[in-house]
């Protein structure tokens, strides 16, 4: 197009820069006028205005100490909402609201209810608005919310290490064996890695959707997941193409570790948040389950490196990148859970994992080609199925 314009200079209007700015601004000024007209006069639409619609979304409930329940709420309806009273377990209860009981659209408030909640039992809170609409929030199992303290920080960190870092590191220990495998078996292992990644992509996607569906309406949770996942997939693919067509296996491994890391961040978030809500009884069994479930991730990270083994320090970096986010996730989930950030992290994770499926897939394709096999040969397919099966069945240990 621009070429064409250059060849026909007489088509370009002789207009100054300030003229162009005016032309750009004119529709905006007209928009302002229309908006002002609608706001000031109602634009003949007043008859269309329906009854008031109120909406409140409860973002987080905490029990900071015995005798106190705290709610963070956001008004995700179209107009201001006043919270007139609070009912706890079908009894009206005193409460205070910061900054105000009246929330403008998208406004937030912290509601404090001095209620003698009962340890390990369930409670239901009902917010009742000035128009009598009710919004419920549930405390499924009442336990005091974790307050940040050095020792709890440490213990949460340990959980993250057992769930994330340890299994990934153990999986990497298979690397010396993998180096000695035939090309055929290596393809099997790489296909297994793809199976693992597909399983993780699905799981991370479902987790992201779960968080997204609970977000206040204006966040448009599910589309947010789709767009963030696509955007991160696209960005990583673009970065990959900059690296060159051949693709360097080390950076593939790092991207793989990043994707798995984001997945483990999600796992950590869920664990920490479950603790904060008193839903978690973290038994030995469960941690063992996570360790078994996540050990395949270590295999996956190191598999692409067989062709060109890097320095040992890289392995440490890869393990940290894939496993350590579980620690961060546990902390965030336990102390400062934010459903919006959780949704975004998990969506990025989906994109990242899909990108590595693509990268590792290319590796398998090239390698199969070099041995004169088709990409979808029985060995590769068996590897893929094994990868999915391992993840699926070890998940029995951690899903209840």
């Amino acid at each position: 197009m621009s070429e064409k314009h250059k060849s026909n200079p007489e088509n370009t209007s002789p207009i100054s820069t300030s003229g162009k700015i005016l032309l750009a601004l004119f529709p905006l000024l007209a928009l302002g006028a229309v908006l002002a007209y609608i706001v000031l006069t109602g634009a003949g639409l007043t008859e269309l205005s329906g009854p008031p619609v109120e909406a409140i979304s409860v973002e987080r409930i905490t029990l900071p100490r015995p005798g106190l329940i705290e709610l963070k709420v956001v008004n995700d309806g179209p107009q201001p909402v006043s919270i007139a009273q609070v009912i706890v377990d079908e009894a009206y209860w005193a409460f205070s609201a910061e900054p105000s009981t009246t929330l403008p659209r998208l406004g937030q408030a912290t509601i404090r209810v001095p209620y003698p909640w009962v340890r390990e039992e369930a409670h239901v809170l009902t917010l009742i608005t000035s128009l009598g609409a009710t919004f419920e929030a549930e405390v499924p199992v009442a336990v005091e919310s974790p307050q940040p303290s050095a020792s709890l920080f440490l213990r949460f960190g340990l959980v993250g290490i057992y769930v994330g870092v340890v299994p990934v590191a153990l999986g990497v220990l298979w690397f010396p064996l993998m180096k000695r495998l035939s090309q055929r078996w290596m393809n099997y292992i790489l296909s297994l890695t793809i199976g693992l990644l597909i399983y993780l992509a699905v799981g991370t996607w479902l987790d992201a959707i779960e968080f997204a569906e609970e977000l206040p309406a204006f966040w448009q949770g599910v589309p947010l997941v789709v767009f963030v996942a696509l955007l991160s997939l696209g960005t990583l693919l673009a970065l990959g193409s900059i690296r060159g067509r051949s693709g360097d296996v080390l950076s593939t491994a790092y991207l793989l570790a990043l994707g798995i890391g984001l997945h483990n961040l999600g796992e950590g978030l869920a664990i920490g948040a479950a603790f904060a809500l008193g839903e978690a009884a973290l038994g030995t069994f469960l941690v063992l389950g996570f360790t078994l479930h996540n050990i395949t991730e270590g295999v996956g990270i190191s598999a692409p490196l067989v062709q060109k083994p890097p320095k040992v320090t890289h392995f440490i970096g890869l393990v940290a990148l894939a496993g350590a986010p579980a620690i961060l996730g546990t902390w965030l989930g336990g102390f400062a859970f934010n459903p919006v950030l959780a949704t975004i992290f998990l969506s990025v994770g989906v994109g990242a994992i899909l990108q590595v499926v693509w990268e590792v897939g290319k590796l398998v394709a090239r390698s199969s080609e070099s041995t004169g096999n088709a990409l979808f040969n029985p060995v590769n397919l068996a590897g893929l199925a094994t990868g999915i099966a391992i993840m699926y069945f070890t998940a029995f240990l951690v899903k209840f």
């Binding site: 100490r65 005798g67 007139a84 005193a94 003698p116 005091e144 709890l152 948040a273 839903e279």
Partner: protein, 370 residues
Amino acid sequence: MEKNISRRNFIVGGAATLLAGLGVSRLSDVEGSGAPTGLIQHPEDEGHDGFGMVGAVDPERNGFDPLEILVDWDHGSVSQLPNGQTLREYQIVAVDKEIEVAPGITFPAWTYNGRVPGPTIRCTEGDRIRINFVNAGSHPHTIHFHGIHPFEMDGVPGAGAGEIGVGQTTVYEFDAEPFGCHLYHCHAVPLKRHIHKGLYGAFIVDPKEGRPPARELMMIMNGFDTNFDGGNEIYAVNTVGFEYARRPIPAKVGELIRLYLINITEFDPINSFHLHAEFFDYYDHGTTLKPTLKTVDTIMQAQAQRGILEFRYRWPGKYMFHAHVSEFAELGWMGNFNIVEQEDFEQALAESGLDQSWDERALNGSSLDR
């Protein structure tokens, strides 16, 4: 959000063995929450004052005051019929009105004369009652009296004038019988909605021989379904939740207290009344001069059931009364009598924002001399 997490219950139910050896032992036993299981934990700073509602309802804005409704007997405009019978005429207008049923919570009510409950119609057995009814509301309405009357005066669809359309009027006329504690309510369809929206009131017929002098009070147990989900968010007597807890009802030690109690609560099959620290005699429907139940402290009423309670307090104190359905009590149906010695009575009146005229009306409710 919490729902989201509760669905992530893959962490729930892990084996009881905690990760003692791994350093994550007692993870769920977070600092400071070591209280024994099952004990109610009281807040350190708020004490027990957390119970109840925040704020107060402004009677001025509502146009009616639950304390006044206790004693505002409406004897109508009285005249004599040629045959010597007393005629009592009433004007009742059905009108839509937004009322405040709990501090800060408004309810789009349908009312008789702009108040919930409607006017307390009080007369003597055998009086001729004439109700000039105007429907200024937005739906067809009726007035159905619990009493003895001809079919045409029953105030239901298909009887006499039937449903009275918007802007229409009718006259309900009948003799007041039997004596007792009765009620009236709208009987247009759908019945449930017409009742719970607020169209009801007390209809008290005094016996010809009268009842012993007493401090008389009228209470209608009602509820409000503010979110229209078929269940009440607010329970009360005379509409405003917890109003008599905030402003106790004054009475004197030793005096006879007579309570006309009516249950119109919609959705729940039963409501009840429990008096603290004293027992009462109960006259079911108020249609007898002898108690139907003696020496009880709790009675229950189905919807539209009603009766008269009589009791005296021996000692001063702020005695509680409430539904002994705990849920109703904690959702607003709870109040107090402020029983005081003679010399403290004026102060008790003032504390609840009442004056001498309130006391006079409480002590002279009977329609016998009017």
